[in-house]
């Protein structure tokens, strides 16, 4: 069993939760109040993540997946538990499709997408083979670099003189309606419901007690980070262009032009995104193979790497013929899709309540 330290878990989850949201303009439907929508989503999302951590706390030694059969009984719990790896596989296919749409549009127009994705998946397979410990060390090193690059970009944007903070006023221009539309359910699912996949990493951590605290810190940090990026994008572009841009963060980097000397930094944005997507895909696939290992009682998870990666690649390549449909699925279908809602909210809450009651009973009878 690999062990990761508390700091490694923090870095993994920060990068994971910031994820691919900033590229696509999280909560863009809320217009100039998107930063507020993000903060509200963070508030609720942190509560959801806390519920996930409490579940593992009430079932010590078990991974999240094993809690379902344990608490609900084998007949009911096992199918529910099996839905999780399927969901993770589907979501990782979605991220692969995201990359398939982003990289050819922006920096590598002529390269066929399957080549880009093939190499991407090869690296991920190697990462899966090496285990979560290696990934923890990797993110420990890379998170400061990513934050540094981000800070540099922010400084350069401010020095380009394109920021107009009065674009953010008036606040709540069109009322709270827009904000609530974005927060529930899409806002909470997008970064915080997806932290469910991290639940399978928590048992690898050496200090079981501080999982909750670590996850709360990382959720709050990621939320503030995304909110700040959204606010910056609105102040540079204004509300209308922000809503219309396909990749707002990428356009933000394009706007950097400091004394005509520092311009054309597009590639850094794409590298940024690629690494975030890499880690997210890695965590989802890791969650998948770990769940598979636990559900089939295998000795090691390595035999599942090859089939899972191939399936994810296949899903990503065939998922959407163009960007428009892909984004339409996110906005129209996913918020109302029963899988997301049940696996991320309904079942965890039930599990939480049941575990809590059982915990109380067992401590009461001792």
């Amino acid at each position: 069993m690999e062990i990761i330290s508390r700091h490694q878990l923090l870095t993994i989850s920060i990068i994971y939760q910031i994820g691919t949201t900033i590229i696509f303009g999280f909560a863009a439907g809320a217009g100039r109040d998107s930063w507020l929508a993000v903060l509200i989503s963070t508030f609720f999302g942190t509560a959801v993540v806390w519920i996930y951590t409490r579940i593992t706390h009430f079932n010590p030694g078990l991974t999240y997946i094993e809690c379902y059969p344990a608490q609900f009984g084998k007949v009911l719990g096992t199918p529910i538990a099996w839905m999780h790896p399927l969901l993770f596989l589907y979501i990782s296919g979605r991220i692969v499709a995201d990359i398939k749409n982003l990289v050819p549009t922006t920096i590598l127009p002529g390269t066929p997408p399957w080549v880009i994705l093939l190499f991407f998946m090869l690296v991920i397979s190697y990462g899966l083979y090496s285990g979560i410990e290696v990934m923890g060390k990797l993110t420990e090193i890379i998170l400061p670099i990513i934050l540094l690059i981000y800070l540099l970009e922010v400084i350069l944007i401010f020095s380009s003189g394109v920021v107009h903070f009065d674009n953010l006023a008036p606040l709540l221009d069109k009322g709270w309606g827009r904000i609530w539309e974005v927060v529930w359910p899409l806002g909470i699912i997008q970064s915080f419901g997806e932290s469910l996949a991290l639940a399978l990493v928590w048992t690898s951590m050496n200090e079981r007690k501080s999982v909750g605290r670590t996850m709360i810190i990382s959720s709050l940090f990621a939320g503030v980070f995304i909110s700040f990026t959204d606010a910056l994008a609105v102040s540079v572009f204004g509300e209308e262009i922000f809503k219309r841009a396909t990749y707002p963060m990428y356009a933000l980097i394009q706007a950097i032009s400091v004394s005509d000397f520092i311009t054309q930094l597009d590639a850094t944005g794409v590298i940024y995104f690629c690494f975030m997507a890499f880690l997210k895909t890695y965590i989802y696939l890791f969650a998948t193979i770990r769940s598979l290992q636990k559900l089939t009682y295998s000795k090691s998870s390595r035999i599942y790497i090859f089939p899972v990666v191939i399936i994810a690649l296949f899903l990503g390549l065939t998922m959407a013929p163009n960007v428009v449909e892909h984004i339409a699925v996110v906005q129209k279908v996913i918020p109302y899709n029963p899988i997301y809602l049940s696996l991320m909210f309904v079942f965890p809450i039930l599990l939480f309540v049941v575990s809590w009651i059982r915990n109380k009973i067992s401590t009461a009878t001792s």
């Binding site: 549009t105 922006t106 590598l108 127009p109 002529g110 390269t111 080549v115 190499f119 394109v162 009065d166 006023a169 008036p170 221009d173 069109k174 572009f237 204004g238 509300e239 209308e240 262009i241 356009a251 394009q254 706007a255 032009s257 311009t263 054309q264």
Partner: protein, 406 residues
């Protein structure tokens, strides 16, 4: 041993694949577009002209810095849309056109009057284009402006861009233009570019002289083109355009001259270079009429004084300051009047100020019909002018001379 061998072999194979060379375009396969011009020609076709940098890979650096040789080439083609024309030009050139270093986009008058949304569309969607290029409008055909040779820089597009950055006149990049187009309550403008002779004015040079002294023509920003939504409605001259800069707080520096009239025995002219200018616009809605209070605060240095006013006494400075305040107020009022009555478009952004400050009333009443409502607004302008310094001498030379004659 076997393990190390397999690693070594696979590394050497993979090394070739990660160099990112699949869809490479080498430097001598690209043609960098530095300026683009768009015109509407007969039967609704768009003529796209591009100014392309000539990069010769032979000869070395000696051939490039030569001033008599042109470093740019001009191409143009007509097409049904911008992309269509772009593709047709591509057929004429052996290299790929790259728009990422495009500095300016010039639009001809006919195209501007019929709406430039299609142009903005192309420049917002296409892959390489950045929103940093400046938009310019011109009377007549835009294509003619590309032919003027550069005076200071290597190509004329760079010169124009430097002029725009000096912010003598209000300017708009494509991003700014799109922002103002979509935002309710403020209308877009661009700078106006014309060819004028660099030396003296107007006596018609003979045509042969024009051809020989081609480099004495300069491209100059002579004013501002006013747009309503995306159609051109009129022009404003340079002085009025300057006041636009003041009102939008974008001024870098500027010069104002006032004249003391001849009846006064201290007659002459005073010129001040403005260093800082700040405008605050407050909106107030009273009885269904929108009122604005515009307050301008300016500071400047006095650099030229041909009156007999001694600049050494502070009383005189107060008089001079009041003179400038009146002048500034007059100019601002004139600009606002012109945009209200003549153009009926809110290029200063009064509407967006109402939006920001009283957004409920804006959303209910004015958002949809600000165009009509704008002509009925009342604006009150107050200014405060401070002269900080008077240059390197503190008293008038003329005054001294007069003293000595006695």
């Amino acid at each position: 041993m076997r393990k190390q061998l397999t690693i070594f072999l696979s590394l050497s194979v993979f090394m070739y694949m990660i160099t990112g060379c699949w869809s490479r375009i080498e430097l001598n396969d690209i043609a960098i577009v530095t300026a683009a011009s768009l015109d509407l020609v007969d039967d609704q076709k768009i003529q796209l002209g591009v100014q392309v940098m000539k990069t010769k890979m032979t000869k070395g650096t000696a051939g490039k810095g030569d001033s008599s040789e042109d470093t740019t080439l001009i191409f143009s083609e007509q097409g049904d849309s911008v992309m269509d024309a772009y593709r047709k030009i591509q057929k004429k050139i052996p290299r790929n056109l790259i728009f990422s270093h495009n500095r300016i986009v010039i639009i001809g008058e006919k195209l501007a009057r019929s709406g430039i949304t299609p142009i903005i569309e192309f420049f917002s969607r296409y892959r390489d284009v950045r929103g940093n290029s400046y938009l310019l409008t011109t009377k007549g055909k835009a294509y003619d402006l590309l032919n003027v040779g550069p005076n200071f820089e290597k190509f004329s597009a760079e010169e124009i861009r430097e002029e725009q950055k000096a912010r003598v006149i209000d300017s708009a990049t494509i991003r700014d233009f799109a922002f103002r187009l979509l935002e309710l309550g403020i209308e877009p403008i661009t700078s106006q570019l014309q060819i004028i002779p660099a030396g003296e004015k107007a006596t018609e040079p003979s045509s042969s002289e024009k051809k020989n002294k081609n480099n004495e023509l300069a491209l100059a920003l002579v004013g501002v083109a006013v747009y309503r939504k995306d159609r051109l409605v009129g022009w404003m001259n340079a002085q009025e355009a300057e006041t636009l800069l003041w009102l939008r707080n974008k001024m870098k520096d500027s010069v104002i001259t006032v004249m003391i009239p001849e009846e006064n025995k201290l007659f002459g002219k005073l010129s001040v270079q403005l260093m800082k200018s700040k405008a605050t616009i407050k909106s107030k809605i009273e009885n269904d009429q929108v009122q604005f209070q515009v307050h301008l605060e300016m500071t400047g240095d006095l650099f030229e004084n041909t009156t007999k006013l001694s600049t050494n006494s502070s009383n005189n400075l107060h008089t001079v300051q009041r003179l400038f305040e009146d002048e500034v107020e007059k100019r601002v009022r004139l600009t606002i009047q012109k945009s209200k009555k003549k153009f009926k478009t809110d290029i200063i952004g009064f509407g967006s100020k109402v939006h920001r400050q009283n957004n409920k009333v804006w959303n209910e009443k004015y958002a949809d019909r600000w165009d009509e409502e704008f002509s009925n607004i009342k604006v009150n302008v107050t200014t405060k002018f401070t002269i900080i310094g008077t240059g390197r001498i503190n008293d008038s030379l003329i005054w001294e001379e007069k003293e000595m004659k006695k």
